[in-house]
């Protein structure tokens, strides 16, 4: 099918879709006139019922916790899938990688980038933990905190020390952390069942003050586990892609990363 024909077909299809969309849109109550009762009911009841002042996180981890379990396992499967699809490539490229890399001229990382990256690693990790553990009070939560935790590890790579990144987050440990995060969420939910409650009921004591760190029962705990899982998943994905593309400076010669990940302290 030639490109012009492709464009014509796209135009026809898009015209039909736009017609239906505009027809449907004209039945909406308009921007800003949200009519639905569900949102207002939750806003009315949420602070009293859960003692959490961050309503969005309360919805994510308690009212609609079942949907969040599903989404988290999508993330888990995507990270595992990336690892599987990319790892099979590595064995076949081992012999050709060292040959191509020998004469490549790689500019060194500049001193400013290394210093700034090293300085920011600690504060970024602190911010990530803070966000993951304060879901019930502020606009934060496990998902955002987890991604920021992963970027703290990327800063370690940016400061020039890829070998340090490999030692700090070996694949087996990161996968174990991710599994603990995903399994922890499911375990908290399942732990409610032997008590005679439904799956994912909030059974921990809710504390006195709304919005304090120790309040709102299982929401804080679930958010912490979700932060672990999301951070580990992103570290795995980025680590897998980094491993594929990188030249490693060891001493003063260049060698490629064709060996598999190893535990810290063992020789490559």
């Amino acid at each position: 099918m030639s490109p012009a024909q492709r464009r014509w077909m796209f135009g026809l299809g898009m015209a039909g879709l736009a017609a239906f969309y505009l027809w449907g849109m004209s039945g909406l109550p308009g921007f800003g006139n949200y009519p639905g009762p569900y949102g207002f009911v939750i806003l009315h009841l949420a602070v009293k019922q859960t003692f959490a002042t961050g309503i969005v996180s309360a919805i994510n981890f308690e009212y609609r916790g079942f949907d969040t379990v599903g989404e988290e396992f999508i993330l888990f499967a995507a990270a595992a899938g990336t690892g599987i699809v990319l790892r099979r490539l590595r064995g076949e490229r081992d012999q050709s990688a060292t040959d191509e890399a020998a004469d490549r001229e790689v500019p060194a990382t500049s001193g400013a980038v290394r210093m700034v990256a090293l300085l920011f690693t600690g504060p970024v990790m602190l911010v990530g933990w803070w966000l993951a553990s304060h879901a019930q009070a502020n606009p934060s939560g496990g998902f955002q905190g987890g991604v920021i935790l992963a970027t703290a590890f990327i800063l370690v790579y940016l400061s020039g020390e890829f070998l340090v990144l490999k030692r700090v987050s070996p694949v087996a440990l990161t996968e174990a952390v991710e599994a603990v995060g995903a399994g922890g969420f499911a375990a908290i939910g399942v732990a409610a069942v032997p008590m005679g409650l439904a799956f994912l009921t909030n059974y921990l004591p809710k504390g006195q003050l709304a919005g304090a760190v120790s309040s709102s029962g299982t929401i804080a705990l679930i958010s912490f586990f979700v932060g672990l899982e999301v951070g580990a998943a992103f570290i795995l994905i980025i680590g897998e892609l980094l491993e594929q593309t990188l030249l490693v400076r060891q001493g003063d010669r260049l060698c490629s990363t064709s060996r598999s990940w190893s535990w810290p302290g063992s020789s490559p």
């Binding site: 961050g54 969005v56 991604v147 980025i238």
Partner: protein, 94 residues
């Protein structure tokens, strides 16, 4: 102009409308720019800027949680993953 709700953090309703319309127009222009650029490496940079624009739009829609997610993912994590993939593909082509 009346204030929206009397908290320390709200602005007059007219300001919010003007801000939202401006950012929506910028987001539409940003999406068009991302699609019309054909080189993937250039597209990644424009995607990062588009992610920041989207984050400001979500802030104007009173959704700070989604803003934080979009900032970290769309402006940092996604460009990292895309650039690493492009480096891998370019390395194979050489």
């Amino acid at each position: 102009m009346t204030l929206a709700v009397s908290t320390p953090y709200t602005v007059p309703i007219g300001f919010m409308d003007a801000l939202q319309i401006t950012i929506l127009v910028l987001v539409a222009a940003g999406a068009t720019a991302v699609v019309l650029i054909r080189q993937p490496v250039h597209q990644v940079l424009v995607l990062s800027a588009y992610g920041i624009l989207l984050a400001v739009l979500f802030l104007a829609f009173q959704a700070p949680d989604v803003t934080l997610s979009e900032l970290t993912v769309g402006a940092v994590a996604l460009p990292i993953i895309l650039l690493l993939t492009l480096a891998k593909i370019k390395k194979r082509e050489e």
